[in-house]
Symmetry: C2
Subunit: 297 residues, 2 copies
């Protein structure tokens, strides 16, 4: 295998994988593609990619293989077994895992590759199909530094931002989970607010304006920094004031009949802060409860 | 009382109230100030404001009185009673309530003013002390339209954005609670992520980068729109995929020992969606659960 990677195989040509494959082929790599439904390979064959009939066959013809699949089960299935990519990949070959999978499987894939003399890098992506087409995904990558460096050109051709997370493969898997956790928590939060708004006579259009205002506002960013630095004094808004407002939220949620599901959880954490003599700190001191709950203090 | 308001009283010169008073006096209104701790009035007397010895006295010398206080109890106490502002305010006088108080008290204040021939407008602010000084607060205002219009010049002199919420005073109180609910939910979310990151070997600096990326990213904004319009097909990311990732989050949270407190709640909502045959929709269809829970479907 040369220092300069020339051939890349892509397994999985779904919503995200097809965008990744397109950008890899357009960047000039010799592409080989495999998809369980063969019809999805056709556009890539027209672009000059070679077809393969199994993950093993892709792996045996390329230096680097990238998987963009559904979940742990599908990644495990294309990786292991008689027709799996591990059986085909040459010594020194590299497997880039772009799927969001469990940190546990991530670590196991890295071990399996190491035992066979090939390499695994964990590179789960964030973004949707149209961003994959535009080469604007976000990648968190972890694995052996020189192997990651070798793949940087590939990662960058479909990615807007690549963040190296270190040698521990699990860190990339967990960072991706944290990104998705934020996304799904935002979705849930906004949804609660729309429903609450409707019950209070606040139109969805107007609530949408407030949500857009929040995204652009200094306030969430400022609190992210306050929490990062754990500087809660002088208080911008005291724990007691935050607690008071959360009680008003709970009361209003009950009155208008629209649950604010995060509010009770947050209320209970403020009760703990007050019980521990932290009532005078900034309301972002709620972070101390979360640190303590994680065994960090 | 003339159509053009000339005199404005401010009760409460704390972190926010002092910034509001400064901007009102600088805008050229005849200011009168009152604060429970008299020393806090001094800087405003130097700016030309008149001192008052009770809320009642402020109210009796001005056309418009603004209260910026702590909570329901403090607002009620300066409003009612023998020395309260209601006892002093002339017929046609206006009370602007800038404090975050309960929708219940908001409605009661409006009634009390109406009975006495004066007017209440609910105008709770969002923002912190330094933004109050800069005149960059956010105000949601509700009340009788012509009275609100009359006060618009006052509101604008300390505010970056004023949103009129209609005649129902409670709508402004609830909109403010929704803004604070978003803020405190962001704080809690970020805090959970920092703690989780630390347990996964992701430095706080790096997690902070991810949080900043999220705030600037198209993704949260896109989902706010998807939810607003309730368009879940074609799915960008299916309920089943969202559910899978939330299970991975819960598993990883357990493994590294850092609770992700929103994840179980969200997981349960996905279970409901799947049980109701909505597994193929976009994961933002979680909104349908929240609408149903609020009696809206």
């Amino acid at each position: 295998m040369s220092d300069e990677i020339l051939s890349v195989g892509v397994i999985g040509l779904g919503n995200i994988g097809s965008g990744i494959a397109k950008n890899i082929i357009e960047a000039g790599y010799q592409g080989t593609v495999y998809n369980r439904t063969p019809a999805k390979m056709e556009p890539f064959l027209e672009m000059g990619a070679k077809p393969a009939s199994s993950p093993r066959q892709v792996a045996s013809t390329v230096e680097v293989i990238l998987t963009s699949l559904m979940d742990d089960a599908s990644v495990e299935s294309v990786t292991t077994g008689e027709d799996g990519l591990l059986a085909g990949l040459k010594a020194g070959g590299i497997h880039i895992g772009a799927t969001t999978i469990s940190p546990r499987l991530t670590a196991r894939l890295a071990e399996m590759h190491q035992e066979r003399g090939s390499h695994y890098i964990a590179a789960p992506i964030s973004g949707r199909g149209d961003y994959a087409q535009l080469g604007k995904l976000i990648t968190q990558v972890a694995g052996q530094k020189d192997i990651v460096d070798k793949c940087m050109g590939i990662l960058q051709c479909y990615t807007q931002t690549v963040t190296y997370m270190g040698e521990d493969h699990k860190a990339a898997a967990n960072a991706k989970l944290a990104i998705n956790y934020m996304t799904v928590s935002f979705i849930e939060l906004y949804s609660q607010c729309y429903a609450f708004g409707l019950k209070c006579g606040i139109s969805t259009e107007l609530m949408h304006e407030f949500i857009e205002t929040m995204m652009d506002w200094y306030s969430p960013r400022q609190y992210a920094r306050t929490i990062k630095d754990r500087i809660y004094e002088p208080a911008n808004f005291k724990v007691t004031s935050g607690f008071k407002d959360v009680q008003l939220m709970l009361e209003s949620a009950k009155e208008v009949g629209a649950p604010l599901h995060y509010a009770s959880l947050i209320s209970d954490k403020y009760i703990s802060l007050i019980a521990r003599g932290m009532a005078h700190l900034d309301w972002s001191a709620i972070h101390e409860v979360n640190l303590w709950n994680a065994g960090l203090d």
